[in-house]
């Protein structure tokens, strides 16, 4: 079976509640206690599981403690599957590959200089750990995550008039940043995974 089939199967497993897009409300059943091993916003209406990065930031920000549960989940996944979970399970990885495959200006050789790969370290240390630890914000989710905007923000805002009224500068910032990411993703395969995603970095530790 090709990798794309696995990606689609895992996408369907993670998103069984498609009808929730009509109401703009996320599923809130018991499976939300488990973190999926990919970058998939837990506020996405159809998502059945939790987002590991979002959960880490939430626990650090609101409980000021080490997120043992999520780290336990990620280390177990990382040591068993390693970065394969990025290639087979992550819905945002699938989104990037589909986008790149239909892009008219894709390039298989395009790569940013090597130092750009350290951006994900900055994301992890500064936005996922330090900013939430000071109780300031869920840094990565609030200011960077394109998965949150595409899979949760846009559908929820489209379906929910009340939430639409509270759109502010952060939303427009994320919209611009996501557009920039999409342009780069269309040029370079899995651009976001290569340079930005701290989840792949965490899973890579245990690979």
């Amino acid at each position: 079976m090709s990798r794309r089939i696995y990606q689609l199967i895992f996408f369907i497993i993670q998103n069984p509640f498609i009808s929730n897009f009509m109401t703009g409300r996320p599923y809130n059943g018991p499976t939300k206690s488990f973190c999926a091993p990919g970058l998939h916003c837990y506020s996405c209406p159809s998502m059945a599981f939790g987002c590991p990065l979002g959960t880490i930031q939430y626990v650090i920000k609101y409980a000021a403690m080490i997120p043992y549960y999520t780290l336990g989940t990620l280390s177990a996944i990382g040591v068993v599957l390693g970065s394969a979970s990025c290639g087979y399970v992550c819905p945002f990885g699938l989104f990037q590959e589909l986008l790149h495959s239909i892009s008219p200006w894709k390039s298989d050789t395009a790569k940013l200089p090597h130092p750009f790969r350290y951006i994900k370290w900055g994301d992890l240390i500064l936005l996922v750990i330090i900013v939430p630890a000071f109780g300031l914000a869920q840094g990565f989710c609030a200011w960077i995550c394109p998965s949150g905007l595409i899979m949760a923000g846009l559908p929820i805002i489209a379906a929910n008039e009340g939430i639409r009224a509270s759109v502010g500068i952060t939303f427009y910032w994320k919209l611009i940043l996501t557009t920039v990411f999409i342009i780069f993703i269309m040029r370079e395969k899995r651009f976001f995974c290569r340079y930005i995603c701290p989840l792949g970095l965490i899973l890579g530790f245990f690979n």
Binding site: Y69, C145, I163, T170, F171
Partner: protein, 70 residues
């Protein structure tokens, strides 16, 4: 052999962390880490969808209004 030992140790530590998340109470009300994970997942996350216009400078340095009142 060395690889198997390291993988086993990491898996055991992961298991301990997972159990701690389910069992260990983090405050006097009996809240567990898994309750936080649940709470995070069940609500619309304003940060994630780009609606958390949090004023970082205000949080770090306090408001200028407060200083004016003083």
């Amino acid at each position: 052999m060395k690889k198997i030992v390291i993988v086993s140790i990491i898996l055991i530590i992961s298991l301990i962390f997972l159990i701690k998340g389910w069992v260990h109470e983090i405050d006097e009300d009996g809240t567990k880490e898994i309750d936080l994970v649940n709470a995070a997942g069940k609500n619309v996350c304003m940060s994630c969808i780009g609606l958390a216009d949090e004023n970082i400078f205000e949080k770090l340095f306090g408001t200028s209004e407060k200083k004016d009142n003083e």
